[in-house]
């Protein structure tokens, strides 16, 4: 009988390789549930989950909400726009008010790194981090690794390059931790201005030439240029970025090997990925979205068990 080593999923950094394996094995079973005629199980029927989103989200919030409903949990949704947060309420007060309504778990997205960690020290509910600023996005990294495992059989020993805006990306950091814990080799690739200064200290390779990076890798995880997080110009223009770092079908075909192409979404078509590359047989982007629900069901189920 196995269980997670943690009560909250705050980041990949805090969990063990065994935790990751347990989440994957549980997600395998939930993926099976999602392919049945009746895609719902009663496991969390006595649990209430609040999705607390202080930052915009489409995919992650829908995916969490669907995962919660497939597990029969009661779900309440909160988004900071149109709430009392605008009237000056603090994070802790907002969440304590939600908990006063007898909520068992909190799924939270926040623009400040460490917000879920802060919360976990002050409230009794289980917390799942659905993205905290530029810090971590653990469920995204788990579903990325789960999708690699599904396509290539295993993650250990694989070479994975993360391409794009590493500086502003929580997906990149969580992916680096997750991939390294499973024994994969990781490289980051992007313009020097979008690579954090001391990123090598995490034990990753650094490359600025996208062709060399693609020739090295088995899997390329392409990230979006997050213009909304950039407070200054990191490169002259989007057109120039596309010219040097954009991936299209021609570039993929010119490699003398098959690689797997991933993207956490939302894609800026024509910027980091061309349409013909995003829709090619290399791409497992929609598998990632499908696996997201199974992974989130596994995380919620295993955390609920910890109480």
């Amino acid at each position: 009988m196995q269980e997670l080593s943690v009560r909250h999923l705050l980041g990949i950094k805090e969990i063990t390789p065994q935790d990751i394996q347990l989440i994957f094995e549980t997600a395998d079973n939930f993926k099976d549930v999602l392919n049945r005629p009746i895609k719902k199980v009663p496991s969390l029927r006595d649990i209430t989950i609040a999705n607390v989103f202080f930052e915009n989200s489409t995919r992650t919030r829908l995916s969490f909400e669907l995962a919660e409903k497939r597990l029969s949990a009661d779900v309440i949704n909160f988004s900071s726009s149109g709430s009392s947060v605008k009237k000056g309420e603090t994070l802790l007060d907002t969440v304590n008010n939600i908990l006063a309504m007898k909520v068992d778990m909190i799924v939270m997205r926040h623009s400040s790194p460490g917000a879920p960690h802060f919360l976990s020290k002050h409230i009794p509910a289980n917390i799942v981090n659905a993205g905290d600023g530029t810090h971590e996005h653990p469920t995204q990294a788990l579903l990325d690794s789960f999708s690699i495992r599904e396509r290539l059989g295993e993650v250990a020993g694989k070479k994975v390059v993360i391409i794009g805006d590493i500086l502003h990306s929580r997906v990149a950091l969580s992916n680096i931790f997750a991939l390294q814990k499973q024994g994969a080799e990781v490289m980051v690739c992007g313009p020097m201005t979008l690579l954090p200064k001391y990123i090598q200290q995490l034990g990753v390779k650094v490359e600025t030439n996208v062709r060399k990076a693609l020739e090295w890798c088995d899997v390329a995880n392409v990230l979006r240029i997050q213009l909304e997080r950039q407070q200054m110009k990191y490169f002259p223009s989007l057109r120039e970025y596309t010219l040097y770092y954009g991936i299209d079908k021609k570039l993929l075909d010119s490699l003398n090997k098959e690689i797997v192409l991933m993207h956490p979404g939302p894609i800026n078509r024509g910027v980091e990925l061309s349409s013909d590359a995003a829709d090619s047989h290399h791409s497992i982007i929609l598998n990632q979205v499908e696996n997201g629900v199974a992974i989130r069901m596994a995380v919620l189920f295993l955390l609920a068990q910890k109480g």
Binding site: Q2, E3, R36, P37, V41, P42, S43, A304, Q305, G307
Partner: protein, 182 residues
């Protein structure tokens, strides 16, 4: 810990053979019947029933595995965590006669969860329950088996263990285990 043999491997073989003939009596050529073994331990019983039926009938009866983890009613109430197992059902359950198979029937809660889990795959024509061991007077729910290998009187503190050759055991056997204060 005291371990008392209640069914030897010779007896277990006869017992399985008898259960198979009882099944044939009710299901004929099994054209509308399927077997579902309850994970984790009903799997071995289901496989044994399937292979014995194959030796008598000369055909493989469709056999699947059903995991009840997500349908259990003791989630978050147990001392030990639940771990899910694979569900493998490669046939349609709709309108079939389903034979649920498990090793030991105790409180009946696993069978209740199994009935719930099975409905997610379709509406069967009818459902029967086959168990190797029926522990008498221990039921929490009004659930009774259709086919029984052996009825056993036991204390709540005792445990019935079914072992299979090749599954960390040298011989097939059924044991009654009594915990003693050492």
């Amino acid at each position: 810990m005291q371990k008392r043999l209640i069914v030897s491997h010779q007896l277990l073989e006869i017992m399985v053979m008898r259960l198979c003939h009882q099944l044939i009596e009710n299901h004929g050529d099994f054209s509308d019947s399927v077997i579902l073994g309850l994970q984790p331990r009903g799997k071995f019983v289901a496989q044994r029933i399937q292979s014995t039926l194959a030796s008598i009938l000369g055909k493989q009866v469709p056999t699947g595995l059903l995991d009840t983890t997500f349908h259990r009613d003791d989630f978050r109430r147990r001392d030990t965590p639940l771990t899910a197992n694979a569900t493998e059902i490669n046939f349609v359950v709709e309108d079939k006669k389903v034979i649920l198979v498990d090793d030991v029937l105790y409180t009946g809660r696993s069978v209740r969860a199994a009935l719930d889990a099975m409905i997610a795959y379709g509406r069967p024509a009818n459902v029967e329950l086959l168990v190797l061991v029926d522990r008498l007077y221990t039921r929490h729910l009004p659930i009774q088996p259709t086919y029984v290998g052996r009825k056993v009187n036991s204390l709540l503190s005792q445990r019935v263990l079914v072992e299979w050759k090749g599954q960390q055991a040298e011989e097939d056997a059924i044991w009654l285990i009594t915990k003693t204060d050492e």
